[in-house]
Symmetry: C2
C-alpha cells in the first residue's frame, strides 16, 4: 500500500471529521440567523463582506467567485438577486470589455451593519464559547496555513474547458 493511500490514523480521521462537522453545524446556524435577521443567505452575506473589505468596495466577478469559493454561474445568479435589492451594482470594467465590476452600495453596507451584530453573536455562541483562551490563536494559525496551502492550487476559474477539437 503506497503511503499516499495508507489509511488515515485515528487522530487524523478525528480531526478531519471534526472539521467538517463543525463547519457544517456553524454554517447552518449562521444561515438561519442571517435569513431571519436580514433575509440574506450565507453566500450573499459573504459576497457583501468581501466587497466591503475590498479597496473601493469593488471586485471583478471572477475574483469574487474565487474568493467566496463559488461557481461562476452561481455568482451570476446571486449577483442578480443582490442587484435587484439595490445592495450591489454591476458595471462593465473600463479596461476589459468582458469583465464586470461588482460594487457594494450604501444600502449594502447598511445591511451588513444591521446583520453583523447578530452574526457575531451566533459565531461567538457556537464557536468561541467552546474555546479556551489561547485556542483561538492556535486554531487561526493552523487553519491559516492550511488555507494558504489550499489556495496555491489553481482556483475554480482556471479549469480548462473548450475541447472542441473533436467534432
Amino acid at each position: 500500500m503506497s503511503p499516499e493511500t495508507a489509511p488515515l490514523d485515528a487522530e487524523q480521521l478525528a480531526a478531519y471529521f471534526a472539521l467538517m462537522e463543525v463547519s457544517t453545524l456553524l454554517q447552518h446556524a449562521v444561515d438561519e440567523h442571517l435569513r431571519a435577521d436580514g433575509d440574506l443567505s450565507n453566500v450573499q452575506f459573504q459576497i457583501l463582506m468581501r466587497l466591503s473589505g475590498a479597496p473601493e468596495g469593488r471586485l471583478r466577478m471572477t475574483d469574487l467567485a474565487d474568493g467566496v469559493v463559488y461557481s461562476r454561474s452561481g455568482l451570476t445568479y446571486q449577483a442578480g438577486l443582490l442587484e435587484q435589492r439595490g445592495l450591489i451594482t454591476r458595471s462593465p470594467a473600463p479596461d476589459d470589455e468582458r469583465s464586470v465590476i461588482v460594487a457594494v452600495t450604501g444600502a449594502g453596507r447598511d445591511l451588513i451593519a444591521q446583520v453583523l451584530p447578530g452574526h457575531i453573536r451566533v459565531v461567538r455562541r457556537m464557536l468561541f464559547n467552546a474555546l479556551q483562551p489561547g485556542d483561538v490563536e492556535l486554531l487561526g494559525g493552523v487553519l491559516g496555513q492550511v488555507r494558504d496551502h489550499m489556495r496555491t492550487a489553481p482556483p475554480r476559474s482556471a479549469r480548462p474547458r473548450t475541447r472542441r477539437t473533436k467534432p
Copy 2:
C-alpha cells in the same frame, strides 16, 4: 455595546474565516473526486460512511439525518437514490411502525472500499500535507471540543412545528 455583540477581534475573525474557507475548499475538492471516482455526492458518501460505522450497519432515518447534519426531506431524497442503486435498504422498524431503518448493503460497503483510497488521497493532499507534525492532535482536540459544544444544542429534528392553534 454589550460583550455579546462586541466585534470579534482580529484573531477571532481570522480563525473563523479560515475555518469556513478551509472547509469549503476541502469539501469541493472531495466532492469532485467522489463524483469522478464512484459517482457519489459528498452527502451520499457521508451517509454510507455513517452506516458502515454504525452497529449492524443500520440507523434510523432521523438519527442519520442529525448525524450528517442534513434536512429530513433531503435525506429522504438521497436515501431514495442510494436505494435505487442498491447501496442501502430501507425497512420499517419492528418496534415503531413510523420509523424507517436504513442499512448498508454489501454493494454499499464495496463502493466505500472502492472510493476510500482516492478520498484519503485528496484529504491528505489538501489538509494533512499542510500540517506540521503535532498540529493534527491539536486541531483534532480543539475542534472536537467545539463539536461537542455544538452538539449539545438540540438537533434539527427537534425543532417545534405544528402551530395549528390559530385557524
